[in-house]
Symmetry: C2
Subunit: 121 residues, 2 copies
DNA sequence: GTTACAGTTGAACGGTTGTTCAACTGTTTG
DNA sequence: CAAACAGTTGAACAACCGTTCAACTGTAAC
């Protein structure tokens, strides 16, 4: 939680603004939704995790292959995979000594596609 | 930039994995795109900024109204607005003593909509 | 059992980031 | 001009986060 509901003085604009605030207050998603939303985007806000998601697009990969491909240690990759696992963005299955990860949700690709559209303008 | 291209030993799996790595290497977006993408998502990864974007959806608002609505100081809001401005997600126009902010891009709503769909499952 | 490799985990370190505070600019009003 | 309010800005602080390191588990092969 953040510092909402402190002693913030209302601004002394005309009454018009007051009504805009009240209208918006009703339309806004509730606070917990906003936090969930921010937490969701936070996961994509790291180049390592984005890279992993691209790597897993349409292809199962084991940890050491992902690490080799990104030029990172297995440990660093594993830490990030844990975050992606906890967020239900990837699933895994063990096969011998290897653990193969894959995308859990095709939904995720849509979001990244939209963002790619946006930044290439 | 992160710690790519260090001395990460290739894993000693069968040749199969090696070819997967090479295939993926070609399909992946280039590194700078991945960073731009991550930076873009980073902006949405904060509940204050997400709240501001919702507040500005379909409505111009001045800084002190946004602050009052969120229960935050004008300074904190202004700092976040600067980030949104720099990322071209919002525009502003001065009107007397007030500065009214509005969404710069309808594209952004699509992305948030997609994310909302995802988290409500 | 032991060796070797894949993967995980927790602590620690350094860098990043959001809010606060105080000082500032810009505009309107008297 | 001065006073009042809207907004901005930079430094400072605390909290957060990603990588590293070392120690660990799990599986396969000898």
């Amino acid at each position: 939680m953040k510092n909402h509901d402190k002693n913030i003085p209302l601004c002394e604009c005309e009454e018009l603004h007051e009504s805009v605030i009240n209208k918006k207050r009703e339309e806004m998603p509730d606070v917990s939704t906003l936090y969930t939303l921010a937490d969701f985007f936070k996961i994509f806000g790291d180049s390592t995790r984005i890279s992993i998601l691209f790597a897993l697009d349409g292809e199962k990969m084991c940890v050491c292959d992902i690490a080799a491909m990104l030029g990172m240690t297995k440990s660093a990759v594993s830490h990030q995979l844990k975050i992606l696992r906890t967020s239900d963005l990837v699933t895994y299955e063990r096969s011998g000594k290897n653990v193969f990860y894959s995308l859990a949700d095709e939904h995720v690709k849509d979001i990244i596609e939209k963002a790619l559209e946006h930044i290439s303008e």
